[in-house]
């Protein structure tokens, strides 16, 4: 029996992609006031970013309830006896806790392991994809756990932010708190370190920010896979991806849109790159 892989919607893997690759994607929830939307299920990225940039209600996010995980576990347990769950950083969301507490609600005999990726977005997504691939090729749960833990150490996610407003409002600003309150305007480059948002550096323009992302990627010697994501800057992200494609013709580059749940905290005009270093 193949091991079933579960991840959450912040991995930026869409449900359709997931279905194709054997990954169950569990959506978090975006709330605009009292209106609740399942991430990328009952709200599209287009609709979400339109409301984020034009609406006056500031959205919030919530983790999936343990029961949501339990339902998926029980369903998958009919087909397999091993499940691997990869969640976004437990320091940024209670999704990991939900996934953990749902294990007790499973009646069928099935081994379920949950890994806190201490990552977000494609930093988590590329690893989940790698796990799904290995699972299809016959890897068992213990092998997959080793694979995921190893891949996570090689997964680097950094992002250009247009503003820190959304991160601060959503209470996820972490170690980048010290960047707030500047008299001078600047564009931060942030990363996720030990599961928390951490600052890398500050630049004064979008162009300089995108250049920094490019230079960051090219500083790696050996790359297994790359990802470029955006919230509301598709053209700039495309150009960056194209430039990287020229520099690394042999590397697969995934292009995607940051899921609404992360978009709530990232805000408009953000671009992220993920480097999955080669072993």
């Amino acid at each position: 029996m193949t091991v079933k892989i579960i991840t959450d919607s912040t991995s930026d893997i869409t449900a359709e992609e997931g279905a194709e690759l054997g990954i169950t994607v569990i959506p978090l929830t975006v709330m605009f006031g009292r209106e609740a939307f399942l991430d990328r299920v009952t709200i599209t990225t287009d609709e979400f970013y339109r409301r984020l940039t034009t609406g006056d209600v500031f959205p919030t996010t919530t983790q999936p309830a343990p029961s949501v995980f339990a339902e998926v576990y029980n369903k998958l347990a009919d087909e397999t006896d091993e499940i691997l769950v990869i969640t976004l950083s437990a320091k940024l969301s209670g999704t990991y806790q939900s996934a953990m507490s749902a294990i007790e609600m499973v009646q069928k005999k099935c081994r379920i392991e949950v890994i806190d990726s201490q990552m977000v977005a494609m930093g988590q997504g590329l690893v989940a994809l790698a796990a799904a691939k290995a699972s299809r090729e016959g890897a068992k749960l213990d092998e997959l756990i080793d694979l995921v833990r190893d891949a996570l150490t090689r997964s680097h996610w950094i992002t250009y932010f247009d503003t820190l407003k959304y991160l601060a409002k959503g209470g996820r600003i972490g170690k980048a708190q010290g960047l707030l309150g500047s008299v001078l305007s600047f564009k931060p480059i942030l990363t996720v370190k030990e599961g928390e948002i951490s600052p890398l550096t500050r630049l004064r323009s979008q162009a300089a920010g995108v250049e920094y992302l490019y230079n960051y990627v090219t500083s790696f010697q050996r790359i297994e896979e790359l990802a470029v994501e955006h919230t509301t800057l598709p053209d700039e992200a495309d150009r960056l991806a194209e430039r990287l494609r020229t520099t690394f013709p042999d590397v697969n580059i995934r292009r995607s849109i940051v899921s609404p749940v992360l978009g709530v905290h990232g805000g408009p005009n953000a671009i992220a790159v993920t480097v999955l270093e080669a072993k």
């Binding site: 209470g171 170690k175 707030l180 305007s185 600047f186 951490s198 550096t201 500050r202």
Partner: protein, 544 residues
């Protein structure tokens, strides 16, 4: 939503037990917020210990009525109160108990009224109540639920929901009321603590006592932008903190007002609370012996605690360091003008040495700043050609690891500072910062101090002159026109941002005019105007 018409005394106790557990999860985070009234960094722990003592007593209540449990909790809190925040919290609980007196069970309206009593009681306990603290948060929460009761007969859960929401907003707004919070970029620690207690109680009412085992309270972020600490505060000697002195006074017919007046002049942050038989005293004093001596004349003294606040402050600094980004290094910058000092501090400079053109600081001044910062690794930004050398002397005079990044202008200093890599070590950062220097051009507009001739340009005394990267580029009568002309000598293709720092003798309207001029001419450039407040220079402009 779960409906709760009323709760019994047992529920009341369990609700606060849940709130205490919730507070415990973030006590150390609350500690790290503490900056007022003195940075001793123990607000969260103090509130938690106070709650613990309160809960212990709650289980000793003579019966299970809400009134009896609340009375017991108030007594426990008073006995175990620690620190400013703990004492105020005990007052809040005492007010709650008074509001609930005689009630068997508790409804939403009862609690709303009791919370108003609590707010009044909290203010009463202090000789000099300060807004932007737990007091304001309590008052705002009480006001919000008071309004709710006026409008109808609300459910208890609803009352707590409104109280939590109002407290949240109130905490986020504390920096607007208390400048020291704004300077430090934090919200009030006591306020955050009280908010967390209310939130924990709400979790209980909503039946989430189990779930919260896996969750952590949210720390509220300031809704007010942080302002840098003014440079004088950094350069000035620290106030002696003395001893945090606390004790319990027992006797007959104690008079808290009389106790207050006797101790008022003996120190700061005096709090005296209690009743006729028991009073709790908290004071920051340089002479705890004298305070205890006076107290023994007023009643019997119990539970004396005297802590050296210098030590507490050191622990606090250590804790702050943990909170700071991964880079363990400090940055010292030489800056003139309040506005520029704010720019630098808001970008993370640890200490400012006041100085600049015609006010060059001495090596000793810079050395002192280097020695004053908590880190052993220090980067110095001289920000002036004439100060670079002075700064370099510091190397030989300190044991610390110092890198002088030879910035010759303010724009170079800002560019270097922004380029800071939060993950890199001292040497790498110094190198990254040096690489940032040539990427920025500097224009400075000042007045000629004497008549002369440079590069075939005749200059009369007091004429406005424009320097482009230190070289004379233009002369004229109006500084704004000279700025315009100086900029025209620079190839701005490929440049993106112009920042205009206007000086002490230039008004904002004039600076905006200069900015409009630049925008007019170069549509691709983004222009930012910042009050620099520097002397001598009408404008300092960075082009990058």
């Amino acid at each position: 939503m779960k409906q709760t018409k009323f709760i019994t005394g047992q529920d009341f106790r369990e609700m606060f037990a849940c709130a205490t557990a919730w507070l415990e999860k973030c006590a150390s985070d609350v500690d790290a917020l503490n900056v007022f009234p003195v940075p001793d960094g123990d607000t969260g722990t103090n509130m938690l210990l106070t709650m613990n003592s309160s809960m212990e007593e709650a289980y000793r209540a003579p019966d299970n009525s809400s009134s009896a449990v609340a009375q017991a909790m108030a007594k426990g809190a008073l006995m175990g109160a620690r620190g400013n925040s703990g004492v105020i919290l005990s007052q809040i609980l005492r007010g709650l108990a008074q509001g609930i007196a005689g009630k068997e069970s508790l409804t939403g309206a009862d609690f709303a009224i009791a919370l108003q009593e609590a707010s009044v009681m909290a203010y009463k306990g202090l000789s000099n109540p300060v807004e932007g603290t737990i007091l304001t948060v309590t008052k705002d929460a009480a006001a919000a639920v008071g309004k709710l009761v006026e409008e109808g007969d609300p459910d208890l859960t609803e009352v707590f929901e409104i109280a939590v929401q109002a407290a949240n907003e109130s905490v986020a707004n504390t920096p607007a009321l208390l400048p020291i919070l704004k300077e430090s970029g934090v919200v009030d620690a006591g306020g955050q603590g009280f908010y967390t207690i209310l939130e924990g109680a709400l979790h209980y009412l909503k039946g989430e006592a189990e779930q919260i085992r896996f969750r952590k309270p949210q720390m509220i972020t300031s809704s007010v932008p942080m302002t840098g600490r003014p440079p004088e505060l950094i350069a000035a000697d620290e106030e002696p903190f003395g001893y945090c002195t606390e004790f319990m006074l027992k006797g007959e017919k104690l008079n808290t007002e009389k106790i207050s007046s006797r101790l008022e002049k003996k120190g700061e942050s005096l709090i005296v609370v209690g009743d006729e038989s028991t009073a709790r005293v908290h004071i920051h004093t340089l002479d705890p012996g004298n305070v205890i001596h006076i107290a023994t004349g007023l009643g019997t003294v119990h539970q004396v605690s005297i802590r050296n606040m210098d030590e507490q402050h050191r622990d606090f600094l250590e804790m702050q360091k943990d909170k700071a980004p991964a880079v363990d290094m400090a940055i010292v910058a030489v800056v003139d003008g309040a506005g520029l000092a704010e720019v630098f501090t808001s970008l993370g400079v640890t200490a400012i040495v006041p100085g600049g053109q015609t006010m060059n600081p001495s090596t000793r001044d810079i050395l002192q700043a280097v020695e004053s910062v908590a880190s052993d690794k220090v980067i110095v930004l001289p920000n002036n050609k004439n100060i670079v050398l002075t700064a370099e002397q510091v190397h030989t005079l300190t044991e610390k690891d110092v890198e002088i990044v030879a910035t010759e202008t303010i724009p170079q200093g800002v560019a270097a500072l922004l380029a800071l890599d939060y993950e890199a070590n001292l040497e790498t950062n110094a190198s990254i910062m040096r690489q940032a220097i040539p990427l920025v051009n500097t224009v400075e507009i000042t007045r000629a101090v004497r008549s002369t001739q440079i590069n075939n340009i005749k200059i009369k005394k007091k004429q406005a002159i424009g320097l482009l990267d230190g070289e004379l580029a233009a002369v004229g009568s109006s500084p704004t026109d000279v700025l315009h002309e100086t900029l025209s000598k620079l190839d701005v293709s490929g440049k993106e941002i112009v920042t205009i720092y206007f000086g002490a003798d230039t008004d904002q309207a004039e600076a905006e005019r200069a900015s409009a001029m630049v925008r007019e001419e170069h549509h691709q450039l983004q222009v930012e105007v910042v009050r620099g407040g520097q002397a001598h220079y009408n404008y300092i402009v960075s082009i990058e």
